[in-house]
């Protein structure tokens, strides 16, 4: 009976703790943060050598209501997402629907002072059916989620506005290289790696030229997934910057990463690590299964 009572206490206490934790969580994540997530290669607006292009945009229209809504780019998992509700928006009079757009844009000419941009810069905007800008209500916040390239050990979501980068309080989401933050405005967002030597896994050459970046941006802007809206509160230049990502030594070139084209070599290091782990387990099992020798024998 005491055990049943303890079980009831544990279930009730655990439920209360879980509710409080969910309520205070920065995002509405999966219930247990524990599913097996399959990740497609990172798609760049202007890919470094050896990596993938094809960064996508999103444009969603939502009739005004009392609920929440969101938009996300079309990769799997999405590389940029925004989640918000109508109560957090400052909408022009007569607004019947809100159009949310997310699109990759060339990085601004100004590099962050506390790291390097890791991945694409995404412009997140909102407008109403007439094309008038919709802003975040003062004091309210929206959720921005960005996914970076492979091997991003740590990163912060930063907002580029007024010619400067601002670091936001950032949490990992639970999906590889994905981070989230709560922000008080729309604008240009990017993940910034505090490691100034960071390079994306699988990169096999120098960074793309300014012309290539501009060409990719132009291609994206004319694509069917690239929306054209007027609502932006940012000051992002279309001029690409070498500061957006340092090429560094090609330390990861030919390294052990084979995620769907992000590298062509066998992941020998990781296979070795797994093999060692399994050997350790087998060895431990062997130790555990040794015959018992009676004391004193």
């Amino acid at each position: 009976m005491a055990r049943h009572r303890l079980a009831s206490v544990a279930i009730i206490a655990g439920t209360v703790v879980a509710i409080v934790a969910q309520r205070g969580a920065p995002i509405a994540g999966p219930p247990l943060y524990d599913g097996v997530v399959v990740v497609a290669p990172y798609a760049w607006l202007s890919p470094p050598h050896g990596l993938h292009s094809g960064a996508k945009s999103d444009r969603e229209t939502f009739p005004v209501s009392n609920g929440g809504f969101g938009a996300q780019t079309q990769e799997q998992p999405p590389q940029a997402q925004v989640s918000l509700d109508f109560g957090s928006l400052l909408m022009p009079a007569g607004t019947k629907s809100v159009i949310v757009t997310i699109r990759p844009v060339p990085p601004p000419s100004v590099a962050p002072s506390d790291g390097i941009v890791a991945g694409n810069v995404y412009r997140i905007e909102a407008s109403n059916q007439a094309g008038e800008a919709v802003q975040v209500r003062p004091g309210s916040q929206i959720t921005v989620i960005l996914r970076g390239p492979t091997s991003l050990l740590a990163a912060y979501v930063e907002l580029f506005a007024g010619g400067t980068w601002t670091s936001e309080d950032t949490d990992p989401v639970g999906v590889p290289d994905m981070y989230t933050t709560l922000v008080g405005s729309f604008g240009d967002f990017a993940l910034v790696s505090p490691d100034a030597t960071w390079v994306p896994d699988g990169e096999t050459g120098p960074p793309p030229t300014a012309a290539a970046t501009a060409a990719s941006a132009a291609s994206s802007a004319t694509g069917d997934a690239a929306p054209q809206t007027s609502a932006t509160a940012t000051d992002s230049s279309a001029k690409p910057s070498d500061g957006s990502r340092r090429s560094g030594p090609t330390a990861n070139a030919g390294s052990a990463h084979g995620t769907a084209g992000q590298g062509s070599c066998l992941p020998l290091t990781q296979i070795g690590a797994v093999a060692i782990g399994l050997l350790v387990i087998l060895a431990a099992g062997f130790i555990m299964t040794r015959p018992v020798r009676p004391p004193g024998s």
């Binding site: 279930i11 879980a18 969910q22 996300q72 998992p77 990992p172 431990a284 299964t289």
Partner: protein, 213 residues
């Protein structure tokens, strides 16, 4: 029958590979628990490295992680216990309750859209393997030894804390309160129904639900 009532050294209660475990690790249930936790830590660390490198896809990573955990559970002395129908039903209900709680608490915010880059069947196999194997280790083998060493409360707290800790490398520190709370719920199921089956069912249901969330 509750595993934590079993006596160390009683061969009738030993699981696979647990014949000489006590003498190999100090001859106590506490030593056995520490050794089991250390093995768990090694497997979690290897999985973390795979996760960072993304050298295998998510399904492969999950399967490797799950298989390694099942080996840990087997070698650490997990003794399979036939689950009761009531336990399985309660586990399924608890899993659905966890999902409903997550949705209701955050209403009207939408769940995070993760997208799917794998077919459902291989993803589900990997997810079920991971969830079940975590329960086999934590609320199976480890519960057994911590329960014998320090009682039910000790087993509940240790397994709940470790359940939260093993998710930190991949999901960050912010996940600890939530997973500790969920660990308590799963531990409560373990206490109530006497084996890892009920918490495993709850864990599987909650994880599988993420496909649609």
């Amino acid at each position: 029958m509750h595993l934590s009532n079993e006596r160390p050294g009683d061969k009738a209660t030993q699981g696979l590979g647990a014949v000489d475990y006590f003498s190999a690790f100090g001859g106590t249930a506490a030593g056995h628990a520490v050794a089991t936790a250390a093995l768990l830590g090694i497997v979690v660390t290897v999985r973390w490295r795979l996760y960072l490198a993304q050298s295998v896809d998510g399904v492969g990573e999950g399967l490797l992680f799950g298989i390694a955990l099942l080996l840990v559970a087997a070698f650490a002395g997990l003794r399979p216990v036939l689950p009761s129908v009531r336990g399985l039903a309660a586990g399924a209900l608890a899993g659905l309750g966890l999902v409903a709680m997550a949705l209701l608490v955050r209403w009207p915010a939408q769940p995070l859209p993760l997208g799917h880059a794998a077919a459902f069947v291989p993803w589900a196999v990997a997810t079920v393997t991971v969830a079940t194997s975590e329960e086999m280790v934590l609320r199976g083998a480890l519960w057994r030894w911590t329960g014998e060493a320090g009682g039910d409360v000790m087993a509940l707290l240790v397994t709940s804390v470790l359940f939260a800790l093993i998710h930190v490398p991949v999901y960050g520190l912010s996940v600890m309160p939530l997973d500790f709370g969920v660990g308590l719920v799963l531990g409560g199921l373990r206490l109530r129904y006497g084996g890892p089956a009920a918490p495993a069912i709850a864990h599987v249901v909650a994880d599988i639900a993420t496909w649609w969330l």
